[in-house]
């Protein structure tokens, strides 16, 4: 015990130094703004200074984007936290909640400091691989409209995207739940957000990204709200984590069932609720496209939940609660990239696929492969995300956005493009995550010790117990 504490304590000094550096840079960034004169550096918040740009802010679109941001926030805290937390054992529930809360804190700061610049900043080098640091510490990201949002404040777009950057690494928790040490987890998460997430976001969503529909010179992968960037990315990382960390003690024969399924249901409800902001908010406006995204999100999710229940009924004898909520999440995952491109028919098909394909994977294939993806982060987000990204290339209909068509509407090239984007993301996310795991593990040892796993992460990592037994 002594030894371990000492070995951890050595990280406090660097952490404090890092914090100090963080503050200093933040302060100097802010000072720079001022020295440069406000109007230029932090483009004016005073309406009268820039009437044209100011009048461009649409209050309805802004209201919807801010609302959507709050909705995406609640997906992670406490939505995903509860969804995952309810499924683990009693002795580990706090560790999962803590991981979600800590990602919220850490990645939000990383995003403000670096992530937003790397992801959405002007392309560095013109290859569409990564953004410049011009917007680091939000320099120049102000109250007026920005390049991504003609009618809403740039800051609103930034914070909306921040919530995406937060939830993506949080999804990975499902893979290493119940057996990771906390400090290495923090380090891994920060690195992953910076080195894996930010580039993919840049590729697919930035004006200069090499896979972006906003980049006139790029092949345009369609990903309305994050099928590749969020779900395939997180899903592949999850697979890498599950493989690298190995199985939990006792897996698979001696695992307890979910310790609190109602928590998982609350979490799933909040995920579904928040996902309306995730997908419909991605329209960046309160318009018909947002309404369409809202509708297809709901329909695909309902279809997937129902389909999963039917699969359960056929193969396991009874439809289960865990099944319906897992199916619903798979449906949400799958419709995410498609939500701005498909109509109701497409969404029913995508939802049905999301109820069948991940089901088969989680129920039949995974047990044979034998790795331990504790809460099926890969099975649901990886497999579901791949299905969704490909299906977007099938079902995209010009009835929704007239310039975007999939294979079934006469545009096979788009499907090929989707395959390419999926393949690139799969390789990138898996390989880079694995390398990161090896590196972080070399310094810190990621996996909890046998005794820590036995006693539970709540007590050993956080000195807390979730519930009192006698009080």
């Amino acid at each position: 015990m002594k030894v371990k504490r000492n070995c951890c304590n050595k990280w406090i000094v660097p952490a404090l130094i890092a914090s100090a550096a963080f503050f200093l840079i933040a302060v100097s960034a802010s000072m720079a703004d001022e020295r440069a004169g406000l109007p230029a550096a932090q483009p004016a918040s005073q309406p009268e200074a820039q009437p044209a740009s100011a009048s461009a802010i649409n209050s309805g679109d802004t209201a919807w984007l801010l609302t959507s941001t709050a909705l995406v926030f609640i997906m992670t805290a406490p939505g995903l936290a509860l969804f995952y937390g309810g499924l683990v054992r009693r002795k580990n529930v706090l560790s999962v909640l803590m991981q979600c809360m800590m990602i919220m804190c850490l990645v939000s700061l990383q995003w403000v400091a670096l992530g937003y610049a790397l992801s959405f900043g002007a392309d560095a080098g013109g290859k569409g691989v990564i953004g410049t640091l011009e917007w680091a510490f939000l320099k120049g990201v102000g109250q007026e409209a920005g390049p991504y949002s003609a009618t809403v404040p740039h800051l609103a777009f930034m914070i909306f995207q921040a919530m995406f950057a937060v939830i993506t690494p949080a999804l990975i928790i499902g893979a290493f739940a119940e057996r990771i040490r906390f400090l290495p987890f923090c380090v891994f998460t920060l690195l992953w957000a910076t080195l894996v997430y930010d580039p993919v976001a840049h590729w697919v969503w930035s004006t200069g990204g090499w896979l972006s529909i906003l980049n006139p010179n790029a092949g345009a992968a369609m990903d309305f709200a994050g099928g590749t960037v969020v779900h395939i990315n997180a899903g592949m990382a999850a697979l890498a984590c599950a493989l690298f960390l190995g199985k939990r003690k006792g897996y698979p024969s001696k695992m307890s069932p979910p310790h609190n399924l109602p928590f998982a249901v609350i979490g799933a409800g909040m995920l579904w609720f928040g996902w309306f902001g995730f997908n419909a908010g991605s329209a960046l406006a309160a318009n018909g496209l947002a309404a369409n995204a809202f509708v297809v999100t709901h329909v695909a999710t309902a279809t997937a939940g129902l389909t999963w229940a039917i699969m359960d009924r056929i193969f396991n004898g009874k439809p289960t609660v865990l099944g319906v909520i897992t199916g619903a999440v798979a449906g949400l995952v799958a419709i995410t990239p498609a939500s701005g491109f498909v109509d109701v028919t497409g969404s029913i098909c995508i939802g049905a696929g999301a109820g069948v394909i991940p089901w088969l994977f989680v129920g039949i294939i995974k047990p044979r492969l034998g790795y331990d993806d504790s809460l099926d982060a890969f099975g649901v987000h990886g497999i579901g995300g791949i299905w969704g990204a490909l299906a977007t290339g099938l079902f995209a209909t010009p009835a929704v956005q007239k310039d975007f068509k999939g294979l079934f509407f006469g545009n096979p090239a788009q499907f090929v493009m989707q395959v390419k984007a999926v393949a690139v993301t799969i390789v990138w996310a898996f390989v880079l995550t694995y390398v990161l795991l090896v590196l972080v593990n070399a310094v810190f040892k990621l996996r909890a010790g046998e005794h820590e796993e036995l006693v539970g992460l709540d007590l050993t990592q956080h000195k807390e117990t979730a519930y009192t037994v006698i009080d």
Binding site: P258, F315, T326
Partner: protein
């Protein structure tokens, strides 16, 4: 004195307590337990992972009584907890050489009631 331990079906608890009351046996300690017996549990399924589900919710009663109340207690439990179905449970009777009432420090048959 005897220390009676009875394992019963949870939904019989109210009936058993009422029947014991009738026999003037007011003092009981109740615990929520899980039991494995002849009654087969229903297999549970979580994402296609099957759990044997061998443990079922049961309720344990502990009743310390003087000799005169042993048979009445057993009769009360048998009367109220029996449904003739597998899973009805068991009654165990242990010897109880010594009892102390915490409030008064009294001992023995005086203290038990």
């Amino acid at each position: 004195m005897k220390y009676i331990i009875a394992i019963i079906q949870p939904d019989k608890l109210e009936d058993v307590l009422a029947k014991l009351e009738e026999k003037e046996i007011h003092l009981v300690t109740v615990t929520s337990v899980m039991g494995r017996g002849r009654q087969k549990g229903i297999a549970e399924v979580y994402r296609s992972h099957k759990e044997a589900g061998s443990l079922l919710r049961k309720v344990k009663l502990e009743i310390a009584v003087n000799e005169a109340f042993v048979q009445p207690a057993i009769d009360a439990i048998l009367g109220a907890a029996r449904s003739d179905n597998i899973g009805d449970g068991k009654i165990f009777v242990l010897d109880l050489p010594r009892v102390i009432r915490i409030r008064t420090g009294e001992e023995g048959t005086l203290a038990i009631g």
